[in-house]
C-alpha cells in the first residue's frame, strides 16, 4: 500500500495502481480520453498529463504506477498549460458540429473545453481536414470519423473484451481515422458498448440516434431484465417514454458492459398491446372490464371458494422468473398462508438449470429471465410438481383446480418463448378458476377467471436475484399504463382482503419483511441491494 501525495493530500493507494486510479479513488478527477477502467491502458491521448516531483517531464497519469512517497500535482499552471495544448490539438480538425451531434451534452470534448480549454481556435473551419461522416457500421453503431479523437477505446474493446477485433486505425498523419475493413458492420453481440465508451461523438448509437437530446432525459438506476446475469444499467427516459438503456458500472457483475440484446430489450415493453384494465369472467363465460377493487374481490372470493371446495392441495401458485422477489414472496405468502395451498412452481422452460449456464464468455446467459434464482430461493421449484408440464398433467388429472399465475413476456426473445407461453395457456384453459397477472395481452388470456393488469419491468420498483444469487434493485423509471400496478402491490391488496395484518407501503417494506421471513434473505444488507447488490445464501428455502 504505497502512500503518495496528490495535490498536497496524503493518499494511500492500492499496489500497482496507476496515478489516475489512485486519484479517482480519492475523488480527484484527472481529465482523460483513452483511459478506461475496464480496458487495458494505452496512454495515447495525453490528456491526463500530471507533474510528478523529480520527474523531468510531465507524465501520463494513466500509465504511471504509484510508488511510495510520490508527490503528484494535477492542477498547477504547468499541467494546465499542457492539457490546454493537448485539447487544442485534439480540436484542430474537429468539425464542431455539436448542434447536430448526438453526443452533445455528454461529450468529453465539450466538458473539458469548458474546464481546460476556452481557447480560440486558430484553425478556420474551411482549413480543417475533412473526413468521412455517417458511416453505417451495422445495427448498433454509426461512425463519424471527423469527430474522433483517436483514443482507441473502441479498438481496445473489440480486441480485448469481445476479442473480435473489427476496428482499427487507418491512414497516417492527420488523415488517421478509425474504421472497419471495407466498412464492414460490427456484428459482435456487444457492439453497443463502443458507443458508450466513445468519449466523443464519433460512434453514436443507431438505435438512439436523433431520438432525443440527452439533456432532456431523466435517469433511473435499474437492472437489465434480459437474462439471469442482471447487468446493472441506467434507464434514460422522458415524459413516460424510455429512450435508452446504458450500462452502470458494477465490477462484480457486468463491469461497464451491456449486451446488445439487453440494450434493445427496452423496446419489448412497448411492443404489443398492454393489459390496461382488470377483466372478470362472468357467468356467461365472457370477460368484462372491472375496477381493480372489484377484480381483486372476485379473485379472492373465487380462490377461497376453490380452496374450500377442493382443499388447499388443489391450489397452485405459479410464479414467474421475470417477477420481482417482492411479488414472488407475497405470492407464496398468499397461496401458502391464506389459501392453504402448498404448491408453488415457476419453471416454464427449465429456467433453474439454464440460469447458471453462460451463453458466451462475457455476460449473456441462456436463461432469459432476471429472477430465476430469486424464485428458487423463495421455494417456487416444487419437486412434487416438476415444472409447468407437471402442473398441466396434474390439472388434467383434476388434482389442481385453481391457480394464481404471474406471467410476463420475456424481454429478450428466443424460439422457445412461444412454447412456454403455450404451456401457460394450456394450464389456464384446464383450470376451473385462475387469477392471471399479466402485463401484455394475449388471446389465451380469455380463459382466465380474473385478469389483473400489472406493471412491467421499469414500471415498478423491485429486486431481482441474478445468477450469482445477488439481489439487486431496479428502480421505477416510468408509470405503468392504465390501471396497472406492481404485482407486489396487487398481491398485498389480496393479502389484506383475505385478512393478513401486515401493511406494506413500498417494495422496500416487502423486502424488509422478506429478510425476516425467508432464511436465504436473512443476511442481506438493504443499502447494498440498492448499490452493488447483496448476496443471499443459496441453500436456504422458505
Amino acid at each position: 500500500m504505497p502512500k503518495l501525495t496528490i495535490n498536497d493530500r496524503e493518499i494511500e493507494a492500492r499496489d500497482g495502481a496507476m496515478i489516475i486510479q489512485a486519484a479517482a479513488e480519492a475523488g480527484i478527477e484527472i481529465p482523460h480520453y483513452c483511459y478506461h477502467q475496464d480496458l487495458p491502458v494505452d496512454g495515447n491521448c495525453r490528456m491526463c498529463l500530471v507533474e510528478v516531483e523529480k520527474m523531468p517531464k510531465l507524465t501520463p497519469a494513466c500509465a504511471t504506477s504509484v510508488s511510495e512517497g510520490m508527490v503528484v500535482n494535477t492542477h498547477n499552471e504547468r499541467v494546465k498549460e499542457a492539457v490546454r495544448g493537448v485539447l487544442e490539438f485534439l480540436l484542430v480538425n474537429h468539425p464542431v458540429d455539436c448542434p447536430v451531434c448526438d453526443q452533445a451534452g455528454e461529450c468529453r470534448l465539450q466538458d473539458y473545453y469548458m474546464v481546460y480549454g476556452l481557447h480560440t481556435s486558430e484553425i478556420p473551419l474551411e482549413m480543417k481536414v475533412r473526413k468521412r461522416k455517417v458511416i453505417d457500421l451495422g445495427p448498433m453503431v454509426v461512425l463519424d470519423t471527423e469527430r474522433c479523437v483517436l483514443c482507441s477505446r473502441c479498438i481496445r474493446f473489440c480486441d480485448h473484451v469481445t476479442g473480435t477485433g473489427e476496428l482499427q486505425f487507418f491512414g497516417r498523419g492527420d488523415h488517421v481515422e478509425i474504421g472497419t475493413f471495407e466498412d464492414r458492420p460490427i456484428l459482435n453481440p456487444y457492439s453497443g458498448n463502443v458507443v458508450d465508451i466513445c468519449p466523443v461523438g464519433a460512434l453514436t448509437s443507431r438505435d438512439f440516434r436523433f431520438k432525443c437530446r440527452v439533456w432532456f432525459l431523466h435517469s433511473t438506476d435499474s437492472v437489465c431484465a434480459g437474462c439471469s446475469t442482471g447487468c446493472n444499467a441506467r434507464i434514460d427516459h422522458r415524459d413516460g417514454a424510455i429512450f435508452r438503456m446504458i450500462p452502470r458500472r458494477n465490477p462484480d457483475v457486468n463491469k461497464s458492459w451491456l449486451c446488445d440484446e439487453g440494450r434493445l430489450s427496452i423496446h419489448e415493453i412497448g411492443r404489443g398491446e398492454r393489459v390496461r384494465r382488470a377483466l372478470i369472467k362472468g357467468r356467461d363465460g365472457m370477460q368484462a372490464p372491472a375496477s381493480l377493487g372489484e377484480a381483486l374481490d372476485a379473485a379472492n372470493t373465487g380462490l377461497r371458494e376453490a380452496a374450500r371446495k377442493y382443499g388447499g392441495a388443489a391450489i397452485l401458485g405459479v410464479g414467474s422468473a421475470s417477477a420481482t422477489n417482492e411479488a414472488l414472496f407475497l405470492l407464496a405468502r398468499y397461496v401458502k398462508g391464506q389459501l392453504g395451498g402448498d404448491q408453488l412452481e415457476f419453471r416454464l422452460d427449465s429456467e433453474d438449470r439454464k440460469a447458471l449456464e453462460p451463453e458466451d464468455k462475457i455476460l449473456r446467459r441462456f436463461d432469459k429471465h432476471p429472477n430465476s434464482m430469486g424464485a428458487l430461493a423463495l421455494g417456487f421449484a416444487g419437486d412434487e410438481i416438476g415444472g409447468i408440464e407437471g402442473a398441466i398433467s396434474k390439472a388434467r388429472e383434476g388434482k389442481i383446480k385453481a391457480a394464481v399465475i404471474l406471467y410476463y413476456k420475456p424481454l429478450v426473445t428466443r424460439e422457445t418463448d412461444a412454447l412456454a407461453e403455450a404451456r401457460i395457456a394450456e394450464l389456464v384453459s384446464l383450470l376451473e378458476f385462475s387469477v392471471l397477472f399479466a402485463a401484455h395481452k394475449a388471446d389465451w388470456q380469455t380463459d382466465a377467471g380474473v385478469l389483473l393488469p400489472v406493471a412491467a419491468w421499469t414500471e415498478e420498483e423491485g429486486t431481482y436475484t441474478n445468477y450469482q444469487s445477488r439481489v439487486q434493485a431496479a428502480l421505477q423509471a416510468i408509470n405503468p399504463p392504465g390501471d396497472a400496478q406492481p404485482a407486489w402491490s396487487l398481491l398485498a391488496a389480496l393479502l389484506e382482503a383475505s385478512g393478513d395484518t401486515s401493511v406494506w407501503s413500498s417494495s422496500t417494506d416487502v423486502l424488509s419483511d422478506m429478510k425476516q421471513a425467508v432464511s436465504a434473505f436473512a443476511g442481506i444488507d438493504l443499502d447494498s441491494v440498492y448499490s452493488q447488490g447483496a448476496l443471499i445464501s443459496t441453500n436456504g428455502a422458505l
Binding site: D97, P99, V100, L125, R132, K133, V134, F210, R213, W215, F216
Partner: protein, 217 residues
Amino acid sequence: MKKQAKVVNVSDRAQRESSFAKEVLGPLVGMKLTISRMAQNLTGQISPTINYPEERRRYSDRYRGAHILTARQDGSPRCVACYMCATACPADCIYIEPGEHPDPLIEKVPTRFDIDMLRCVFCGYCVEACPEEAIIMSKESEICALGREETVWGIERLMRRPELKEFGLGFRPNEKLVDSVLAVTPEAKPAIRMAGRITLKENVEMIPHVTFEPQQD
C-alpha cells in the same frame, strides 16, 4: 420668546373666495384639454384610434409575431433539428422529430416541427438560440383558429404562409441581412423586405432571383 403659530381658518377663507363664477367655470378650465381634444375628435382633426383591421399600424422590425422556418435553396428547411430552440423555450411549445438527411454534411433534418401557438409566449428565445437562422419571427399577430388543434402549427405552415406578404418579417438575428447579403434589384427590394430570405412559393414566383445564400462567417 415663543413664536406664536398662525392659525388659518380654512372655512373662512373658502367662504371669502367662493363665488358662482369660480364654482362653475373652475371645472371647465380644468377640463380645457379634454374638451378641446373632444372638439378636435368630433371635427375629425385628430384620431387616436384607427379603423382596425382595415387600417393597421406599422410594427417595429423587432416585433415578435408568429414564427417562420426559413428554407434552403432547394426549398427544404434550413433547420437541422438540433433542439436548441426547444431547449431554450421557456413555454415548452416546440416539438421536433428529427430524421436523417441524405447529405452527410447536413446530417439531420426535422421530419416534424410543431409550435403550439397557444403555449408560446413569443419571447423570441428560439430565434436567439438558433445556430442556423432557421427560425425567425414575423409580424403576424393574428393567430386565430376554430379549435385547439389548429393552433399547433406544423412545418408546412411555418415555412409557407402567403399572409407574410401582408405582415412582413419580425424579430430576426440580422435585420440588415436582407439588403446586404442578397444582390437585389431596387424594384424587388420592397418585396424582399416583406418576404425576407425565406423562399416562399409565392415570393419565388414574384422575385425569382431571391434564394437563400448560405452566410459565410
